[in-house]
């Protein structure tokens, strides 16, 4: 089999003596969507924040394309083409869509001045593709609806040619139509060969969108299964009981 795009190896991270993530290993292949399932506090978000640079792991190893990498902060992650859509969206509410899309990576002119015109044009271009109904380009994002804010956060992750995309509950704040839009986007990005980690509570959505699912409970990995091999009830059992389904148990 080909080299995995991402290998998370034996990741451990503790907060004040509590093991939030305890020796977890998951990998991700190009063009694959891996769902991360588990209750609140199971450690899904914490695990993935080691990959996005938001947290530093205590021990373990991250490999990209088979090579070990150091990810100490969000800048390191971005340099490795890892983009993350956080559950909180991580938007600066006082700035407009373009300013948020290019936050930390502003386009500048030859003289180092912020190039507002080009950033807005680029924002319009990508929004045309992601959310054609988006109109509020000049308003601060706090004036936008949940779905519009979400599309700004998604646009930010997609615009910069991510190879590895992390989506933390991308549809939690969305209506049915916008949720469908995100699902279509995930399919399209998959076809382009991105690897996607999808953190979600919604077993149905994970079953539908993901190739494989990794289930966590109390900081530990219950198991990784192919979504085609399991039922939604099997996944639910893994989440609640912390055990592999019988027909897959070794």
């Amino acid at each position: 089999m080909a080299t995995p795009l991402v290998e998370l190896r034996n990741i451990c991270i503790a907060f004040g003596g509590i093991k939030a993530v305890d020796d977890v290993s998951v990998d991700l292949y190009p063009g694959e969507v891996v769902g991360l399932l588990g209750h609140n506090g199971a450690g899904k978000s914490t695990l993935i924040k080691c990959l996005s640079g938001a947290y530093r792991m205590d021990s373990g190893e991250i490999r990209i394309d088979g090579r070990p990498v150091e990810i100490n902060n969000p800048r390191d992650a971005r340099a490795l083409n890892i983009e993350c859509i956080y559950q909180t969206l991580a938007l600066a509410d006082n700035l407009d869509a373009a300013a948020n899309l290019f936050l930390g990576r502003e386009l500048v002119t030859r003289f180092g001045f912020v190039d507002e015109a080009r950033m807005e044009a680029e924002t319009r271009r990508i929004m045309q593709r992601l959310n054609p109904n988006f109109r509020k380009f000049a308003a601060p994002v706090k004036a936008l609806s949940g779905g519009q804010r979400q599309s700004v956060a998604i646009a930010r992750a997609v615009y910069f040619n991510a190879r590895i995309l992390i989506m933390d509950e991308p549809t939690a704040a969305l209506g049915p139509q916008e949720t469908r839009m995100v699902a279509e986007l995930i399919q399209e990005l998959k076809r382009q060969g991105l690897g996607i980690f999808l953190i979600d509570h919604d077993i149905h959505a994970v079953k539908e969108l993901c190739d494989r699912a990794a289930v966590m409970k109390n900081g530990q990995l219950v198991g990784v299964v192919r979504c085609a091999d399991v039922s939604e009830d099997d996944l639910l059992g893994m989440i609640i009981l912390g055990k592999m389904p019988e027909h897959l148990a070794v």
Partner: protein
């Protein structure tokens, strides 16, 4: 209240007050000479307020700017008294400001002390330092080199504009240059964009790869530098330095930024709005002085006006 009304309320009030002064003082208030006078009197405040806008853009405060202005003034004056050339005194004053600002930034961004508490502490330290450096005395007279004192008295002659005998003061031009620099920094550079982003959501800024700690230190360093510059301008203007002469600048600077915030669409600190706030305070001070209103009454009025403006802005934002 509609945002447009909220935004213009301060300006409407300002226009009404200015018109009142013009009616009450027709011979001395609405004259070119007096406007230039106001521009000169307000120059120091404009510099402090513009640099205060930098830290307030990211939601922080710097309470130490007034005592830093005093400290920078006496540091320069003591060096002058010891025979140092003008450039050495000025450079030393600015260096003290930069250093003090970096200390503020480290306390806030690295140690993690609330800006209010951290800069209250350094306010006291800088103020005590100014007394120690000056021995508690006012340094004046021959100790202050003539070129340093002449700077504040000089300016660009305006005879060509038909204003015989008037000069656009160097102090005002200096303030204009500082304002322009801060405007470019805040509105046209990535630095300013990152400051506003940090003010809006510091965690989002960090996750976007913005070096928030370094950014905050830099912002406080610039506020300290601006405060020191204003302190030197003040020392030049009165051709002397004493350890308390900058004390009034801090509250007025914060007041000017707040007044400015009532005029911006988003209610955020913006440097040009801050300049408008400085103009309000400058005109008010000038007019009331000319009307022989007691300076204590003036303080009460200034405070009340700032509170009223901010109260209206707050009520206007609430829905």
């Amino acid at each position: 209240m509609s945002p447009a009304l909220r935004q213009s309320l301060t300006l409407i009030g300002f226009a009404a007050v200015a018109a009142g002064f013009a009616l009450a003082l027709p011979d001395t208030f609405p004259t070119a000479r007096n406007l230039i006078n106001i521009a000169q009197q307000s120059a120091m405040l404009a510099v402090v307020a513009a640099s205060m806008t930098i830290v307030m853009a990211m939601g922080d405060f710097d309470l130490s700017v007034g005592s830093m202005a005093s400290l920078a003034g006496v540091v320069a004056a003591v060096l002058f008294a010891g025979g140092a050339p003008v450039w050495v005194g000025v450079a030393a004053g600015l260096a003290v400001g930069l250093l003090g600002g970096i200390v503020n930034g480290v306390l806030v961004a690295v140690v993690g002390i609330l800006p209010f508490v951290a800069t209250l502490g350094t306010l006291t330290i800088f103020s005590g330092g100014a007394f120690i450096v000056s021995g508690g005395k006012t340094i004046f007279g021959r100790a202050i080199p003539a070129p340093f004192a002449d700077f504040a008295r000089g300016g660009v002659p305006l005879d060509a504009l038909g204003l015989e005998g008037l000069r656009l003061p160097w102090l005002s031009l200096t303030a204009a240059a500082v304002i322009a620099a801060v405007w470019v920094l805040l509105e046209r550079r990535r630095f300013g964009r990152h400051l506003y982003a940090t003010g809006g959501n510091a965690e989002a800024a960090r996750l976007a790869g913005i070096p928030v700690v370094r950014l905050r230190i830099a912002a406080f360093a610039l506020a300290g530098l601006g405060a020191a510059g204003a302190g030197l301008m003040l020392a030049s203007r009165v051709a002397s330095a004493n350890p308390t002469q900058g004390a009034g600048l801090m509250l007025d600077a914060i007041a000017a930024v707040f007044l400015g915030m009532t005029m911006t669409r988003s209610g955020e600190p913006r440097v040009l709005a801050t300049v408008a706030g400085v103009a309000v305070l400058g005109v008010l001070g000038n007019g009331l002085t000319q009307l022989r209103v007691d300076s204590y009454v003036r303080e009460v009025l200034t405070g009340a006006i700032v509170l009223a403006a901010v109260a209206f802005a707050t009520l206007g934002r609430r829905r």
